[in-house]
Symmetry: C2
Subunit: 447 residues, 2 copies
């Protein structure tokens, strides 16, 4: 970490800035390979490398310039320092529902100082009201920073903390909970809390953003508003993900936590419900249910928290030529369950049969499909039947990611493989969709 006025600059980058007497907020000029860049020196995040200096150009875009021996830095103006004093809380309407926002990090959780472009990975209720004033008309907000993490660094241990924190908020009597989360692994976390929080009385809504709040095209405010609205008023009491339905700003869609997947690296509508309808949609500030079957909001329900996860569960994606010894490696390391992301209807090479036999003796092996869409059906071809005869459990239409999280959760509850298998086959949080007639026809047609 750099000193406070250097906000996250370290190593060579910090030295270079200090050498010219610049601080975050100052106007600087960088000359490199004949190109000249002028802009305001903005802070790095806590994970910033030591080689880039980041400035906000006049166009509003940020650029990271890598230091090299021929990089020249000049301080050409003294900037106003970024201040993060929170504005005073607006008056709160006691008639409004209470919503807790738990921030875990990611683009959505950043507050941007528009003058300097400085980003603080933090949220307070007053920050939120000042950035998204509409929130004051929807709910009374209680905001808490739980983590400030890029979501690729979130682990099952963090899911445990998230589940416990949500439980505390619900015990405090909130009408709904919003979890601000990086989009990279938000689908995994949403699945994790879907299993860990059972018998929910109120909705728990994950929200992220694909563009940071200092971009003209940011989806942060619209997604957050949608998430708070759903937490405050939705008729369901499940874990869901609130994101853009399309690339335009017209609608926020709510995906069930166990059926959602990030399917695009950069689009605002990156999240898709897979093998399921989305749970609901926000249209003109109203939550419209799309799923027919859902758990209803019911404040009298007593939340059951089962927050433990095992770290001895693996997701293994199959590819041609893959070495079957990878299965043995996991078994030897004491893994309790393996989710295979197989091909087509749920297949792997017959060279895997022997190691799979051994893995089944020691724990659970389950099969999802790398096709992503559609249902695994291991009755159609001999490979599937052989794998089932070895004890591999078909995961129906469950996402491989959700299945991995579910098995981590299952082995957080029990060490008994038979009990684990029963739990795996039980529809706990909508992770299995009912077969549709259309699907039946397809599958019969293949038998």
């Amino acid at each position: 970490m750099g000193e406070e006025k250097f906000f996250g600059y370290r190593g060579k980058a910090l030295e270079a800035i200090k050498r010219v007497g610049a601080e975050v907020g100052d106007l600087i000029r960088i000359t490199k390979n004949g190109e000249v860049y002028e802009g305001i020196l903005i802070p790095r995040s806590e994970y910033g490398d030591e080689k880039h200096i980041v400035i906000k150009l006049k166009s509003g875009y940020n650029i990271g310039i890598r230091l090299s021996p021929n990089t020249k830095i000049e301080r050409i103006g003294v900037g106003a320092k970024p201040t993060f004093a929170s504005p005073p809380l607006p008056p709160q309407n006691p008639q409004l529902p209470k919503v807790a926002i738990i921030s875990t990090g990611g683009t959505i959780a950043s507050r941007v100082d528009y003058r300097t472009g400085a980003v603080r990975p933090a949220l307070s209720a007053s920050d939120l009201y000042s950035v998204v004033p509409e929130l004051a008309d929807i709910a009374r907000i209680d905001a808490q920073i739980l983590f400030s993490l890029y979501s690729e660094n979130i682990t099952p241990a963090h899911w445990t903390e998230m589940a416990k924190t949500v439980a505390e908020k619900i015990a405090d009597g909130v009408d709904g909970v919003v979890i601000a989360h990086g989009t990279d692994t938000m689908g995994y976390s949403a699945a994790a809390l879907s299993f860990a929080l059972q018998n929910l009385p109120v909705p728990v809504i994950f929200v992220g953003s694909q563009r940071s709040a200092d971009r003209p095209s940011s989806d942060a405010a619209t997604n957050l508003t949608g998430a708070v609205l759903a937490a405050a008023k939705a008729p369901f009491a499940e874990v869901a993900v609130a994101m853009h339905e399309t690339i335009s700003d017209t609608a926020i869609v709510l995906h069930r936590g166990t059926k959602v997947r990030k399917c695009h690296t950069s689009r605002r509508d990156a999240f898709k419900s897979v093998n399921a309808q989305p749970l609901a949609k926000i249209v003109e500030n109203r939550v419209v249910m799309l799923a027919e079957d859902y758990k209803r909001r019911d404040p009298s329900q007593k939340l059951v928290v089962k927050p433990n996860f095992s770290d001895k569960v693996a997701l293994i994606k199959f590819y041609p030529g893959m070495d079957p010894a990878i299965i043995d490696w996991h078994v030897d390391k004491g893994y309790k369950a393996i989710v295979l992301e197989g091909t087509g209807l749920g297949h792997v090479s017959n060279r895997f049969f022997q190691p799979i036999r051994r893995a089944v003796e020691k724990g659970v092996v389950a099969m999802a499909s790398q096709c992503i869409w559609g249902r695994v059906n291991m009755n159609v071809y001999d490979t599937g039947r052989d794998l089932m005869a070895l004890g591999v459990i078909p995961l129906e239409d469950m996402l491989a990611e959700t299945a991995t999280v579910k098995l981590m959760w299952i082995f957080g509850q029990t060490d008994n493989p038979e009990e684990a298998k029963q739990l795996l086959k039980t529809n706990i949080a909508g992770e299995f969709s009912q077969r549709t007639l259309h699907e039946e026809t397809w599958e019969e047609a293949k038998q």
Copy 2:
């Protein structure tokens, strides 16, 4: 293998059939748990397990019944035995283009005896003409059985054989080649041949089917007809995959071999071009180009065959809580390259940085996204910049599967990591799409 009249039955299943004096083609009745099934005993494939007996019901559907102590089998009628004598070849029109069909196995390559439901994983030209008579109007066909494999059992060594066999056919002067292939790993094989067959004079078209030819809804005949038409007449000379465009039978679409992925377990339109337009489409028996940029058919081109693949390349899909030691395991086993299927724009947990540093010292580490759609961009967040500083190569919009195959191919050509990195970054067979203006806007917006 069972004896000839027991077509693939082995072990307990073979004993049970013999006990009642039944053979393939006989009408049998099976009683199990109070249910009665009557139908014609049909053959198993060579990978059939020893526990199921498969009969074709009157409805036309096949059912596999697992033997248990309370299963009763009766032979209630003597069937006509399946005969696989090929019908005589129809007269061939010497004006028509010549197309070679190379069969590697899979549902598409099966010929079904409609009387008995027996499936033979084999094709001859006369079989094909008898099953799909339209072919005689499109091309003169030379058919060869190269393998009879479920495609989950295809390995890089099989890609080498396929490439060499295609080269032989082209040397024989055919106007195009069709490769019949199981759909499970057809995308991987199509990518492999896209790299192995350079400077193609004529098209090479992979084709599969999602429903076997004995089903009313089979796509085998329409896909095969489309593939032969494209091989015979398409204006492009690239490796492509021919499958249904939608779930209806109206159009066959041709996907570029490096940009295609199986995205549904059972639908007939399971294959999708990812981050690219499909190459072409067949409309009213004409090949209509959809891609603007493609290699043109040119019989004067001299094919360059580079058929070798390394088996020391891994595809590793990241998930929360994954043990970074998996990277070390591959490095210790002498792997030359690792494709990481990271999250979002191309990230993995910072706990992976140390093992990745070591892997980069020993070979190549490259990053694709498990989002599947969109482009990896490792300039946006610190995690991406840190990974690039460690030497991880961003794979732009290339599919993780294609990248894995490409690196297997690259290390079949060279052992020099620097040369390998250059080849990896070079657009050899359309595996990188050009950035679109729309994409640029998105990415700038995130910087």
